[in-house]
């Protein structure tokens, strides 16, 4: 029912290569990272020194009743606190800013990369996946830069520092404490591994839960209309239940783990007090040392637990990094030529398809040996059954896809020799299912042609008699559209798309089923406008409704990817072949006159 969980396909990309890639992104900020490492050093020293100072206070000054010495120690302690506090502030800032900068770069790189990918890429990758790449995956990389790297260093330094200090103060006591530490370390790493598996499962269930939810919300009207709420809810409950169980499992593991670590920690403390106490009585170890030890033992567990976490974080970050780099390394297949030819500012619009073969994949040809010529200013209709390949012709012309054999040329220049933007600038397409962006009607019509004024748009709309459809919206052309605004009907969207193309004013105009959901009267108005626009402009019209293409200079009839007939309406009728049949279908019960 749900989109299959993203496959955790482990590519050939090794971990080392990934790390290298991640370091590349951190490179511009290596000074910041280094600075923050330096600060980390200070912080570690400051926090290690504190228990030691108390030890000195107890063992030296209190015993000697040295007030003045105590005051000096107090001042040193105060300075340590200040330094540590200030260092913490700057370290935190630097580190997390760096993280932000790096993920900013990652996001820019990803978005830029997506924007140069060909259409096929967007067909193959669900939107949700691409969004996750840019948002969630990058976010989990942030952890790597802002927490893992520096904290790893910090924790290792802390551990080394504590062990060194303990050994310095008393080797015997250190060994006593360390009786328990291997056990704790083992337990910690074991539990973290179990937890990691649980968390992974939890995450994957959560993501299916979310995508199930998203889909059902957007298809809610269909669900309600089919009275299927119950069934859909059942499935949701199943997922929810699964999520609950995985979450509970995590809680149970945690509630076993945390007390047991506490237990071992306390055992270690008990050993310390027992042995240390006896030694103090013996006089072999000072009281202050035992006191400092109790602090260090407690301080010891924190970095240990942290280290176990780091391991998981690195794993998670690597998984995200792998997906991100995989995305970044998918090369676009439709790219600008190395030595592009330039199209003139205005093209004439002479279009030639020479024996073009095209398949979306492998050898499943959608277009077979398509061969035709459209001259400057001509209007050409393309008809054929669903799946005959009509839309594919447009996709090729605009280089949304590349054909495999043959050539397509515009004004005698092979379209593969031209820069993509240069080509698309000359070709306007009015789509059947035009996407509406969230924004006002104005924004949607002018898109990012910011120089186009509102007046121009209204003028254009009036010129084609479709102004009333927009001016009667609640706030006219300033009505907000999109998810949180007014929803346009299919017909209104097509009219909007029509205006878009008028504003863009391209040299070649293509209508892809652009009037399927518009009523006849409005269509009539649009047709008239179209006739005006298509004067001196190469125009291709794809339509099911034959009325739309009656006036075309040439009609191309496609069947299963091949051109079966070509000519104007009358010629094709005279042929009494495929087109004739199409017309008869349309005019059931009417006599189709054949003129000679």
């Amino acid at each position: 029912m749900i989109r299959r969980l993203e496959k955790g396909s482990h590519s050939q990309m090794g971990d080392r290569q990934l790390l290298k890639g991640m370091m590349m992104f951190a490179k511009p900020y290596r000074k910041l990272l280094f600075f923050s490492l330096l600060l980390t050093g200070f912080i570690v020293i400051a926090s290690l020194a504190q228990p030691f100072i108390i030890k000195v206070a107890i063992d030296t000054y209190i015993r000697m009743n040295d007030y003045q010495g105590m005051m000096y120690l107090g001042i040193i302690y105060f300075l340590l606190i200040m330094v540590s506090s200030i260092c913490t502030y700057f370290q935190n800032n630097t580190l997390q800013f760096t993280g932000q900068y790096v993920i900013y770069d990652f996001r820019q790189a990803l978005f830029k990369h997506f924007s140069i990918m060909q259409m096929d890429f967007f067909r193959q990758n669900p939107i949700g996946r691409l969004v996750t790449r840019i948002t969630h995956d990058v976010e989990s990389l942030n952890q790597l830069y802002s927490q893992v790297i520096v904290n790893l260093v910090k924790e290792v330094l802390m551990l080394i520092g504590i062990i060194a200090l303990m050994l310095y103060m008393s080797v015997k006591l250190t060994l006593i404490c360390f009786l328990v530490i291997p056990v704790i370390a083992t337990v910690t790493f074991y539990f973290k591994r179990v937890l990691r598996d649980t968390q992974r499962k939890l995450r994957s269930i959560l993501s299916s839960l979310l995508s199930y939810l998203a889909e059902n919300l957007s298809g809610m009207s269909v669900i309600q209309l089919f009275a299927r709420e119950g069934k859909q809810l059942e499935r949701f409950n199943e997922l929810n239940e699964e999520h609950y169980r995985a979450g509970m499992r995590q809680t149970v593991i945690n509630s076993i783990f945390n007390p047991s670590i506490g237990l071992f920690g306390n055992i270690s403390l008990a050993l310390l007090v027992w042995y240390g106490g006896r030694s103090v009585v013996d006089g072999t170890i000072t009281f202050g040392t035992v006191y400092a030890f109790t602090h260090y033992v407690r301080q010891f567990f924190e970095p240990l637990r942290g280290l176990a976490d780091r391991f998981n974080q690195i794993q998670a970050a690597l998984a995200s990094a792998e997906r991100i780099f995989e995305s970044l390394e998918t090369k676009p297949t439709i790219i600008n030529p190395v030595h592009p030819k330039e199209l003139p500012e205005k093209v004439k619009g002479n279009l030639v398809f020479q024996h073009v073969w095209f398949a979306y994949k492998n050898e499943e040809w959608v277009l077979k040996d398509v061969h035709f010529r459209i001259n400057h200013g001509e209007t050409v209709g393309v008809v054929g059954a669903t799946g005959a390949g009509k839309s594919s012709i447009i996709q090729l012309l605009n280089r949304f896809y590349d054909h495999q054999k043959g050539t397509i040329s515009l004004d005698g220049i092979n379209i593969k020799d031209v820069q993509l933007n240069d080509l698309r600038r000359h070709i306007g397409i009015i789509q059947q299912d035009a996407f509406v962006f969230s924004g006002t009607v104005f924004d949607n019509i002018r898109l990012n042609h910011n120089h186009v004024s509102k007046e121009e748009i209204i003028k254009a709309a009036k010129a084609v008699n479709i102004d009333p459809f927009f001016s009667k919206l609640p706030e006219g052309y300033d009505t907000m559209l999109g998810e949180e605004g007014t929803v346009l009907s299919a017909g209104q969207k097509q009219l909007l798309s029509f205006l878009r193309a008028m504003i863009a004013d391209n040299d070649v105009l293509i209508l892809d089923e652009a009037t399927a959901n518009i009523d006849t009267e409005t269509e009539q108005a649009v047709q008239e406008a179209l006739r005006e626009i298509s004067k001196n402009r190469t125009t291709i019209i794809i339509a099911h409704r034959l009325s739309t293409i009656l006036h075309a200079d040439k009609i191309i009839v496609l069947d299963k990817g091949r051109i079966v007939e070509m000519g104007n309406h009358q010629q094709l009728l005279n042929n009494q072949s495929v087109y004739y049949q199409l017309c008869q279908n349309r005019n059931k019960g009417k006599q189709v006159k054949v003129k000679n």
Binding site: I2, I58, N93, L130, L225, K231, A434, A490, N517, I518
Partner: protein, 400 residues
């Protein structure tokens, strides 16, 4: 930022066609930068808090150590007291920090709780009202009496004074301009919106007294946008909650003339559709959506402009199949194409929310009004291409 990327991906074909990549990148950069700025502010505040609280904790240690040791030296307290005090202090810090966190969490939780309560307490405006009848099946007679309807936010009425009666087993076709109220009428019949009381009757029951479940399970509907779920094609066609045999699914697919298309797919009926069923073409999606409605043995069937993406040959085939089926069903068809609707038992023409013409195909043609105009526009043009100078153009070429 999420919505920006989402929009970018969904609108990619528009963006590429109009070469908007550069601008979209600019917009994204702005979002991205804004995001970094917001995060930086948050980080600064956080760091300040961490370092301050660390400093304060440190100071309290300092005081307890310095004063404690002086007190010990003065023998006011014992060394044991001093050590115990310091240890308690260190134990105290974690709970105090936690209290802060807990208070924060409680506030967050309260806000979330409020939001959830708010959502849960929103009453659905469309639900079975008190005094709803307990009918569980519908025959299919629809009566609409003086129906006027206005959407909440709009100024004008979407429908005015609509009166139609559709006897069981007959068909009604609705034609009219974009925005003339066709879909509104259907939405009311399905109770996606609540019609005023005493305006729509089904089998002599006010539609608002019919349980929603009964109503909706008695209506098969083919919507304008063909939303498909990301599951197998089979599951999509058998979307109606009742159980269906494979054979029934195949049959529905055949009736919607999509069987052949499906059989050509790699996994046939088990083919999984991607997000929003994007791997099918528009026409195929529409026909799957039709099959989804046809499989339902409901007394009423509604097509909302839902043959627009299929070519006329397929359309004729589907309509022929339907005609045999529709004899037992009450059907409502919205379309712009006369060919789709000319066989309907009655046709109404809507304009600005009002019925301006009604009758059968033939009687409407005699009325010489809007319908006739539409018909002429759609058909006669095939016969003689003689509009506005085009004829001349063709003649010219013939000569040459």
């Amino acid at each position: 930022m999420t919505s920006r990327v989402q929009e970018f991906c969904s609108g990619i074909s528009v963006i590429k066609t109009y070469i908007q990549e550069q601008e979209e990148r600019k917009k994204f950069t702005n979002d991205n930068q804004a995001n970094v700025e917001v995060n930086k502010q948050l980080i600064r505040a956080n760091s300040l808090f961490t370092s301050l609280s660390q400093g304060i904790v440190g100071l309290s240690y300092l005081i307890s150590i310095v004063f404690g040791s002086i007190l010990v030296m003065k023998s006011t307290i014992s060394l044991g007291d001093f050590v115990a005090f310091n240890t308690y202090l260190s134990l105290l810090i974690a709970p105090i920090e936690n209290i802060g966190k807990v208070i924060n969490l409680l506030q967050q939780g309260k806000a979330a709780d409020n939001r959830i309560r708010h959502v849960l307490s929103t009453e659905p405006t469309i639900q079975d009202e008190e005094g709803v009848t307990s009918i569980t099946s519908i025959q299919g007679t629809i009566m609409i009496r003086n129906l006027s309807f206005k959407y909440q936010r709009s100024k004008e009425s979407a429908l005015k004074n609509i009166t139609v009666s559709i006897p069981k087993g007959t068909s009604l076709a609705i034609v009219g301009k974009v925005g003339s109220g066709k879909s509104t009428l259907v939405n009311l019949l399905l109770r996606l919106y609540n019609p005023p009381k005493n305006s729509i009757f089904i089998d002599d029951h006010d539609i608002r007294d019919v349980p929603l479940k009964t109503l909706r399970s008695s209506v098969a509907y083919v919507p304008q946008d063909n939303f498909l779920f990301s599951s197998s094609i089979k599951e999509n066609i058998a979307f109606d909650p009742n159980p269906y045999e494979n054979e029934q699914v195949f049959h529905a697919a055949r009736q919607a003339h999509v069987y052949q298309d499906i059989m050509e797919l790699p996994e046939k009926f088990e083919t999984e559709l991607g997000e929003r069923g994007l791997s099918l073409s528009g026409g195929q999606r529409q026909r799957v959506s039709i099959a989804r409605a046809l499989i339902k043995p409901s007394p009423i069937i509604i097509f909302d402009d839902s043959l627009s993406a299929v070519d006329s040959k397929t359309e004729t085939n589907i309509l022929n199949t339907l005609r045999t089926q529709m004899k037992s069903r009450t059907s409502i068809i919205i379309s712009h194409r006369i060919s789709t609707i000319q066989e309907a038992d009655q046709i109404i023409v809507l304009d600005k929310g009002e019925i301006v013409e009604r009758g059968t195909h033939h009687s409407l043609l005699k009325q010489n009004g809007m319908y006739k105009k539409m018909f002429t526009q759609q058909t006669t043009e095939f016969l003689s291409p003689s509009l506005n100078g085009r004829k001349i153009l063709i003649k010219k070429r013939r000569r040459s």
